[in-house]
Symmetry: D2
Subunit: 151 residues, 4 copies
């Protein structure tokens, strides 16, 4: 799993990213702080969505700094088991539904065969402070991934 | 709103906490980073649940450092409008359902009359690494709050 | 100490801010994560520097989103004693040296009479991506504070 | 640089870790939030110190959860240039001085040939809440690294 590379990789339509748990991710109860998973999942999404050309900063600069990029609209998340310091986790991201104005992604965090977190995340594309159609290159890439996963 | 005090206060069964948005809470798109709301809401929960005697560290120490306290089991969250740097927000926490093993809390983040975030958060009480009945003092306090809110 | 108010207050030239330690600030060793102090101290600085009119977002918008505000140039920090979950801390900020292009601030974090962190922080004023003279209103306010502290 | 692997690698006595800048690391001014560097540097230290057998959680558990591990005692840090969203950074860690009770590490953050952050960090080994001699395996590994770097 440590072999996914800095930005992770796509296999059969799913994006895999390896994440190591550091001091910064834990809290005094000894396990990972619940908001840390949102950071892990955002890294997975950012990397999956960067691949088809969605360089985040580039888009931001095109829009004159007017708040562009993917924005999370809603999220449902189950925390099943807690990871601990030094664990290596896999963040697995896949498109569940790709529409013109938003996408639903499923994101899971696993440690080996253990599923730790299971989430459904709706993201929209925002530019100049308003929702816009998702760029065609990203939409096509996500639809292709969706088709590869099947179901 | 700035008058709620460091730990917020309970009014008619709901807990109100004022939170100022700082640099640390924002990201390069100019708005609040989505995981920051989970930190704000955890501050609200912690303060509401501390009031009936659930001093977090004290419970932790009683349990020989074996991971005690409220743990988030699941969360559904809608991000409606984004706050910005320097904004003052209110985190409003109320019990929706109080059972022996878990509680459902509704948590909202507002800026003045604007509702920014609306979430439902299920928490359980964990001690020695296992789920346990919620301490009676906390459960009673939450049921009383629930009755005050009505509905 | 809990009486300082949301943005803290200035007494005799020093700015005092009360900060509660939450789950988010701790790590698995049971104490506050070392980078959390930088967040606490930034809250103290932001509030002290907001008082003379340095509304952070307002300055940012004036500059067309070109990266304005106080930027930390360097920092020397001693971590003397660790705080824990639920502790209430005071962040104490005072100007040590006020020049046209930068200021040196001393920032301390205390728990009651215990000094926990002692830091010296150099900040500069940046606008449009470049260092600029510190706005006159801020400089005067800091020089006045400096004179009140004496020494 | 993306080829360092999840935990980075040691070359000629220095530890190199690649870090990607994500949303979570930035703030509304468009650059990396200053406390984020401390998180990056902690990841570098943790990985360098894990290599000679200092598995962090293992040590922690041996000590009955009594707060063991490397603790930062002091830090001097210069922020030279700011990185931005999507940048890939190298965190370079090397021992400067290795004593029985503490070590001074130099840590730099670079983007290509640009040095962005330069820091000197004193860490001590704490177990059961008290400073202890640094474990021999770690000390020897750091002395070997020190000798390889020369100077």
């Amino acid at each position: 799993m440590a072999g996914f590379g800095l930005d992770g990789e796509i296999r059969d339509g799913r994006h895999y990213l390896a994440v190591r748990v550091y001091y910064e991710d834990t809290d005094f109860t000894g396990i990972v702080y619940h908001a840390s998973y949102l950071r892990f999942m955002e890294r997975g999404r950012t990397n999956m969505l960067r691949l088809p050309g969605a360089e985040h900063r580039a888009h931001f600069e095109e829009a004159d700094g007017q708040g562009i990029g993917f924005v999370v609209r809603s999220m449902a998340i189950d925390f099943l088991k807690p990871p601990r310091m030094d664990d290596i986790l896999a963040v697995i991201t896949e498109p569940e539904e790709v529409k013109g104005a938003s996408m639903m992604l499923r994101q899971r965090v696993a440690r080996g065969d253990d599923l730790l977190v299971d989430a459904h995340v709706r993201v929209a594309w925002v530019s100049g402070g308003r929702a816009r159609p998702i760029p065609r290159s990203v939409r096509l890439a996500m639809q292709t991934a969706r088709a590869q996963i099947g179901g």
